[in-house]
C-alpha cells in the first residue's frame, strides 16, 4: 500500500467506527428518553401509554398508605389541579414525606395508577424539584412560589 492508501484505510476505519458509535448513541438516546409529565397532563391523557415517563408533583397530605404486609405503598401526586394515584414497591427516599415535591419514574397501568419503579426526593426539606415547581406554576399557580 502507498502511504496515501494506508492513510485512507485508517481514516475509513475510524469513520466507520465513529459512525457506528454515533448511530448506537442516538438510537440508545431515543429509546431511553424519559419525558416529564405533570398530573394534569396525565389526566388529560397526554402521558405515553407504552413507555416509561417521569411524573412529578406534590405528595398529597394524608394520602400515604402502606399495606400491612410487604413494602407496597400508595400515595397521590398532585399539582393542585389534578391528582394521580401512585403505587410503589420498595423503600422511599429519606426526604420523602407528605407535602413534599417529588419525581417518580414508572408507567401507567390499565387502571390509571402510576406504578413507580423509582422515587426521587433529593436535597433538603425546602427544596423543590424544578420540574415540579414548573408543573405547579402551569397548573394555575395555586401553590406558593417555591424557594429553591
Amino acid at each position: 500500500m502507498t502511504r496515501r492508501q494506508r492513510r485512507m484505510a485508517l481514516v475509513g476505519v475510524l469513520v466507520l467506527g465513529v459512525g457506528a458509535a454515533v448511530a448506537l448513541a442516538l438510537s440508545a438516546f431515543e429509546e431511553n428518553l424519559l419525558y416529564f409529565i405533570s398530573p394534569s397532563e396525565v389526566v388529560a391523557g397526554d402521558a405515553p401509554a407504552d413507555r416509561a415517563f417521569r411524573l412529578g408533583g406534590m405528595v398529597e397530605e394524608g394520602s400515604v398508605q402502606r399495606e400491612s404486609q410487604g413494602l407496597r405503598v400508595h400515595f397521590v401526586l398532585t399539582d393542585y389541579a389534578q391528582r394521580v394515584p401512585v403505587a410503589y414497591d420498595g423503600i422511599l427516599p429519606d426526604l420523602f414525606r407528605e407535602g413534599q415535591g417529588i419525581v417518580a419514574k414508572g408507567h401507567l397501568d390499565a387502571e390509571g395508577v402510576f406504578v413507580a419503579s423509582e422515587v426521587l426526593a433529593k436535597h433538603d426539606e425546602t427544596y423543590m424539584p424544578p420540574e415540579v415547581a414548573d408543573a405547579l406554576k402551569k397548573a394555575e399557580g395555586k401553590a406558593p412560589a417555591p424557594q429553591p
Binding site: A21, L33, K122, E125
Partner: protein, 657 residues
C-alpha cells in the same frame, strides 16, 4: 476582622494575577527578560495571598464565626471539628476558593519546577495560568464572595449538608479539584506552545508528567466519589450516571486520551495538533464540570446555588476560554507539523483508536448530560435520559477499548506486522479464549456482558504481564533488568483496568438486592447468608440523633458480622440521612441500610450481597498509583532542554515576524 483580611488578601491575589498574566506575556513578545522574570515572584505572591485568604475562611469555620454568611449557612457549633474544616468547601463560594487555592498551588509548582525550561516558554505558561486565575478570582470576588458578612450575625449556623458529613466526601472535592485544575497546566503548556509556535518533543515531555499527575488525582477523586455514593446515598450503587458524576467523568475520559496521545507526541513527534486540542478539551470540560456542579444548573445533591449573575459570568468565562483557545488553535495549529509517519499496523494506530474511542465515549456522555439542559433552557420540554442510555453506549465502546488494550502496548512504534504481534500474543490469546469458553459455559448467554468482561479482563492481565515479563528478561540469562518506572506505572494502571472490569462485571451480574420488611427477631436468607434483624435502638451523635438498626449476619450458621445501620436526623436542617452499614471483604460486601419504621417495631430494610465490590475501587486506586509511578520516571526529572546557541534570540525574533 479576620474575614476582612481574607477578603483583602484575595483582592491582592487578583492584582498579582493581573501582573502575572500581562507582563510576562508582553515580555515574551518583546523579548524583555526582566518582564518575563516577573512571572515567578508573582506566582509565589499569588499563592501566599490565596493561601492566607483560604486560611482566613477556615479560621472563620473553626472559630464558629456565624457573622460570616457562608459560615452561618454551612456550619454549626455542634459540627465536629474535622467537618468544620471540610465545610469550607461544602458549598459554592468556598469550593471556588478551594479551586483557586489548588490553582495557585499548581502555578507555584510550575514556577518552581520550570527553571530548566526555555524562559520564553515558561513565561508564557505562567502567564496563561495567571489568566485562568484572573477569571476565577474575579468570579469569586464579584459573584461569590465567601467573606460576606451577615448583619446582625447569627447565633447558630444552619449546619453542613448532612450528605457531606462523611470522610469520603471530606477528601473527595480536593482530590477532584487537584485533577481538574491539574489539567490547567497541560492547557497552559499547550496554549503557550501555540503562542510560541513551537510544539516539539520537549514540549510534550514537559507536559507529560504534569498531565499524568493531574489524571491520577482525578482518578482518585472519582474513585472516592464513587465509594462515598455507595456508603452514603443508601442504595448501594457505585455509579449513577448522575450529571454530577458525568461532569467529572468527561474530563477523565478526555484526560485519559490526552495521556496516551502525549506518548505519541513525545516519542514519535506525532499527533501534535491533536494533543493540543485534547489538552484544550480536557481543561474546558474540567471548567464545565466545575460550573455544572457548582452553578445550580443541575438539580442534584451537589448543586446548591442559583443566581443568574453567576450563570452569565460562567457562560462568559467558558466562552472566552474555549473560544479563545480554539481561535488560537485555528490560527496557529496549521503551522504545526507532525514529522512521525506511521503504518496502519503500529502502536500509533492503536493509540489513535484508543483516542477515538475515549473521545467518542466522552462525547456521548456530553450529549446525554447537556441535551436535556438545552431543551429545558429553550423551553422545549423536560426530558431526561437515564442510566440505560449511558450503559447502552458506554459499555460496547469500552469493550472494544479493552480488546485494543491488549494489542497496543505490544505493537512497535512506526511499523509492525500483524504476524509479529500475533506471535507475541498467542499465549495470552489462548488463555483469554479459554477464559471466554469457561465463562460462557458457566454463565451461559444470560450474562453476555459478564462473559465478555471476564474474558477481556483475563486478556488484559495476560498481555500486560507478558509485556512486563519481556521487559524483565534480559539476553544474559539469570539476570533481571529493572524496567523504567514509566513502564511499571503503565503496567500497574492497565492491570487496574482489568481489576476494575472484573469488579464492575461480577458485582453487576451477581449482586442480590432485596428490600424487605422485617420485625425484630425475623430473619431473611440470602444464598449462604442469613440476615437477622435485632431491632432498633436510638443513638445520640454530636449534631444528630439516630435510629440504629442491628442486623446479625450468619453464613451457614456461623456468625459473620453484626451490622449497625443508622437513620440519622439532623435537627438543624430537619434532614434525614441513611448511614448504610457495610461488611467489606475482598470477594463480597454485605450491605445493610435502614428504610422506614412500618409500625409494630417492623422496619423496611435494604439487604444487599454484592460480590467483588472492592475490586471496582481497588482498580481505580491501581490506576492512580500507576499514573503517579509513571510520572515519577527518571527521564522527566533529568530532562535538560538543550538550547542551541542563539535559540532564545531566534525565538524572540521569530515572534516579531
Amino acid at each position: 476582622m479576620i474575614p476582612e483580611l481574607g477578603h483583602f488578601a484575595l483582592i491582592l491575589a487578583l492584582c498579582l494575577a493581573l501582573i502575572q498574566a500581562s507582563l510576562p506575556l508582553l515580555g515574551a513578545w518583546r523579548g524583555r527578560a526582566g518582564w518575563m522574570a516577573v512571572a515567578r515572584p508573582a506566582a509565589v505572591g499569588q499563592f501566599v495571598f490565596v493561601a492566607l485568604s483560604y486560611a482566613a475562611l477556615t479560621y472563620a469555620f473553626v472559630a464558629n464565626d456565624f457573622s460570616v454568611l457562608y459560615v452561618a449557612h454551612n456550619s454549626n457549633s455542634e459540627l465536629p471539628l474535622v467537618y468544620r474544616v471540610s465545610a469550607v468547601w461544602g458549598s459554592h463560594e468556598g469550593s471556588l476558593l478551594l479551586w483557586m487555592l489548588v490553582l495557585a498551588g499548581w502555578t507555584l509548582a510550575v514556577a518552581a519546577f520550570s527553571r530548566s525550561l526555555n524562559p520564553y516558554f515558561a513565561a508564557r505558561v505562567l502567564a496563561v495560568m495567571g489568566l485562568i486565575s484572573i477569571g476565577f478570582l474575579a468570579f469569586v470576588l464579584f459573584t461569590s464572595n465567601p467573606f460576606e458578612r451577615l448583619v446582625p450575625g447569627a447565633l447558630e449556623g444552619r449546619d453542613l449538608n448532612p450528605l457531606l458529613q462523611d470522610p469520603g466526601m471530606a477528601v473527595h472535592p480536593p482530590m477532584l479539584y487537584m485533577g481538574y485544575v491539574g489539567f490547567s497546566v497541560a492547557f497552559a503548556f499547550a496554549i503557550a506552545a501555540l503562542m510560541g509556535g513551537r510544539l516539539d518533543g520537549a514540549w510534550a515531555r514537559w507536559s507529560r508528567p504534569w498531565t499524568t499527575v493531574a489524571w491520577a488525582f482525578l482518578t482518585f477523586g472519582i474513585t472516592l466519589g464513587s465509594w462515598w455514593a455507595y456508603n452514603e446515598l443508601g442504595w448501594g450503587g457505585w455509579w449513577f450516571w448522575d450529571p454530577v458524576e458525568n461532569a467529572s467523568f468527561m474530563p477523565w475520559l478526555v484526560g485519559t486520551a490526552l495521556v496516551h496521545s502525549l506518548a505519541v507526541s513525545e516519542k514519535r513527534d506525532g499527533f501534535k495538533s491533536w494533543t493540543v486540542l485534547l489538552a484544550i478539551f480536557a481543561f474546558s470540560l474540567s471548567l464545565l464540570g466545575t460550573f455544572l456542579v457548582r452553578s445550580g444548573v443541575l438539580n442534584s445533591v451537589h448543586a446548591f446555588a442559583t443566581d443568574p449573575a453567576r450563570g452569565l459570568f460562567i457562560l462568559g468565562f467558558l466562552a472566552v476560554v474555549i473560544g479563545g483557545s480554539l481561535g488560537l488553535y485555528a490560527w496557529r495549529a496549521p503551522r504545526v507539523r507532525s514529522t512521525g509517519h506511521f503504518a496502519l499496523v503500529s502502536r500509533e494506530s492503536a493509540l489513535l483508536f484508543n483516542n477515538a474511542l475515549l473521545v467518542v465515549a466522552a462525547a456521548s456522555i456530553l450529549l446525554g448530560t447537556l441535551y436535556p439542559l438545552f431543551l429545558d433552557a429553550l423551553g422545549l420540554g423536560k426530558i431526561s435520559v437515564g442510566p440505560p442510555y449511558f450503559d447502552a453506549v458506554f459499555v460496547p465502546l469500552m469493550l472494544v477499548l479493552l480488546v485494543l488494550l491488549g494489542f497496543g502496548p505490544m505493537a512497535r512504534w512506526k511499523q509492525d506486522r500483524v504476524g509479529r504481534i500475533w506471535h507475541g500474543l498467542r499465549g495470552a490469546a489462548v488463555v483469554a479464549v479459554a477464559a471466554l469458553i469457561l465463562a460462557a459455559v458457566f454463565y451461559a448467554s444470560e450474562h453476555l456482558v459478564l462473559v465478555a468482561s471476564l474474558a477481556l479482563a483475563v486478556w488484559i492481565t495476560a498481555t500486560t504481564l507478558l509485556g512486563l515479563w519481556r521487559r524483565l528478561r534480559t539476553p544474559a540469562a539469570g539476570r533481571i533488568r529493572r524496567p523504567p518506572r514509566a513502564f511499571v506505572g503503565m503496567t500497574l494502571a492497565h492491570l487496574g483496568v482489568a481489576v476494575f472490569t472484573v469488579g464492575v462485571a461480577v458485582s453487576g451480574a451477581f449482586s442480590t438486592e432485596r428490600d424487605v420488611r422485617l420485625a425484630p427477631g425475623e430473619h431473611y436468607p440470602m444464598g449462604p447468608y442469613t440476615f437477622t434483624f435485632q431491632g432498633v435502638d436510638s443513638v445520640q451523635g454530636p449534631n444528630y440523633t439516630a435510629s440504629r438498626g442491628m442486623v446479625e449476619v450468619q453464613r451457614d450458621g456461623a456468625p459473620v458480622s453484626v451490622l449497625y445501620a443508622e437513620k440519622r436526623i439532623y435537627p438543624v436542617r430537619g434532614a434525614a440521612m441513611t448511614e448504610a452499614a457495610v461488611d467489606a471483604g475482598v470477594f463480597r460486601d454485605l450491605y445493610v441500610a435502614l428504610g422506614e419504621p412500618l409500625g409494630g417495631g417492623s422496619w423496611s430494610l435494604r439487604l444487599y450481597h454484592k460480590p467483588f465490590m472492592r475490586w471496582i475501587w481497588f482498580g481505580g486506586l491501581m490506576m492512580m498509583f500507576g499514573g503517579l509511578l509513571a510520572a515519577s520516571d527518571r527521564r522527566y526529572r533529568t530532562v535538560q532542554v538543550r538550547q542551541p546557541e542563539g535559540a532564545l534570540a531566534q525565538e524572540a525574533g521569530r515572534v516579531h515576524v
